[in-house]
Symmetry: C2
Subunit: 199 residues, 2 copies
DNA sequence: TTCGTCATGTAATGGGTTACATGATTAC
DNA sequence: GTAATCATGTAACCCATTACATGACGAA
C-alpha cells in the first residue's frame, strides 16, 4: 500500500521524503499522518529494489546508487525519483485487478490513482468493492435484525450508524459505476481511455 | 481495546474464547473478525493478570488458576469469567475520560459500553470525539479547497466522499450530545444514571 | 541567538495477522 | 465414516508506531 502510494506520488514529480509525507497525508488524508519510522525504511527498501533513486539536490548529476552512503553526520536533502524499473513497477501495480485491490487496505490507494488506470480494471475494482461492501452491509443488517430487541440504546445506535455509513458507501459506488458505464458508452468500443473530467 | 472488549463482554456473561470471538464480531462488527492469534494470547495475559479465570465446564468447581496447565493434547473447553479484580478493572476503564477515549482506536469500544458508563463521562467522551472529528473535517475541507482545481476527478471524488462521511459523523455526534443533554435535564440534578431506553 | 520548521534517519516496541497444529462434537 | 463446525492454542511474521538522535536553515 505504502509502496504504491510512494511510486504513484513520485510518478507525478520527484520530491524528498518530508514532502512525500505531506502529500500522502493530503491525498489519502482523512486518516492519520504517515510516520517517518515507516516512510524512510520504505524508501530505503525501494532504493535497494532499484525502483527509486535519491538525487543529491546540491549536485543533481550525482545519483545515489542502491548502496548509497548512510549520510549520517552531515546529512543532505535527498530528492527521490522513480527509475525506469520503478515506473514499470507502478504500471504493473496499476493493472492488478484481483480481490486484494478492493479490500479496505488497498482500495483507497487504488482509487486515488484511477485516473491512470485502465477503464476495465477500474470497473472490475469498483464492482468488486461494491460486492465486498454489500456483503458487509448484509452481515451487519441481519445481525442488527437479530439483536435489535435485546441490546441497549447505545449498541443499537452504533450499529445503526455503521449500517447507514455502509449503505452510503454502496450508493456512492453504484453512482461511480453508473458514471463509468456512461463514459464507456460515450467513448464507444474503446475500453482503455480515462474519461474526460466532467467536474 | 481488546482488553476492554473482553472484560465488557465477560461482564455480561461468562463464555469461552470461540464464543467471545463471535460476540466481538457482532458488537464491534462492521470491521473484520478478531483472529485467534490475538484473542487467545490476550486471554492468557488477562488470566496471568488475575482479571479472568477459566473454568473447566466439565467440573465447574475446578477453577483453573493463573498457572493453568497448557492443556495441549487432551484439550478441554474453557469457560472464561471475570474475577473480582476483573470486574474492578472494567469499572476503572469505564471511568476513564481522557483524550485516548475519543480516538479512533478506542471510541467504538467505549461507546459500545456507554449504557454502563456514567453520564458525565459519556458526555466528555462524546464532546471530545466531536472536537476530534471536527478537527479532521476542517483539515480535509481546507485541503480540498486548496487542491480542488488541480486534481483529477477521482481524487476529488474520494476526498469529497470522505468529507461527507466525516460531516455525517459530526452530525450524528451532535444529535447524541443533544439527546444526552435532554436526558440529563429530565433526570434533573443527578448525573450518574443511564437514561431509560427510548427506542 | 534562539525558536520553529524543515529534514533524515534508527531502534525498540506493539498489536495485530496468517499459517500451522491439534482435537472434540455434531449432522448427514 | 466423514465432513463441517466447534474449539484451543503457538510461532513466525508484518507493518506500523513511538521515541530517540541528529542536524540545516530562515526568521524574530
Amino acid at each position: 500500500m505504502l509502496e504504491m502510494a510512494i511510486l504513484g506520488l513520485l510518478n507525478e514529480a520527484p520530491m524528498h521524503g518530508y514532502e512525500l509525507r505531506k502529500r500522502v497525508l493530503a491525498v489519502f488524508g482523512g486518516f492519520r499522518a504517515l510516520s517517518y519510522g515507516s516512510l524512510y525504511p520504505a524508501l530505503k527498501r525501494m532504493r535497494e529494489q532499484g525502483w527509486i533513486c535519491g538525487q543529491d539536490p546540491d549536485d543533481a548529476s550525482r545519483v545515489l546508487p542502491a548502496d548509497a552512503p548512510p549520510l549520517t553526520g552531515k546529512r543532505g536533502k535527498v530528492v527521490y525519483a522513480l527509475t525506469a524499473e520503478g515506473k514499470e513497477r507502478f504500471q504493473e501495480l496499476l493493472t492488478e485487478g484481483g480481490p486484494e485491490a478492493w479490500e479496505d487496505e488497498r482500495f483507497g490507494v487504488r482509487f486515488a490513482f484511477f485516473a491512470q488506470t485502465d477503464a476495465d480494471v477500474r470497473m472490475r475494482i469498483l464492482e468488486g468493492r461494491r460486492r465486498r461492501v454489500e456483503e458487509r452491509r448484509d452481515g451487519l443488517r441481519s445481525s442488527l435484525a437479530r439483536t435489535r430487541q435485546r441490546v441497549d440504546r447505545y449498541t443499537l445506535e452504533l450499529q445503526s450508524h455503521g449500517l447507514d455509513s455502509i449503505d452510503r458507501e454502496v450508493r456512492w459506488l453504484s453512482e461511480l459505476i453508473d458514471h463509468e458505464t456512461v463514459d464507456r458508452r460515450q467513448i464507444d468500443g474503446t475500453n482503455s481511455q480515462p474519461p474526460k473530467s466532467t467536474t
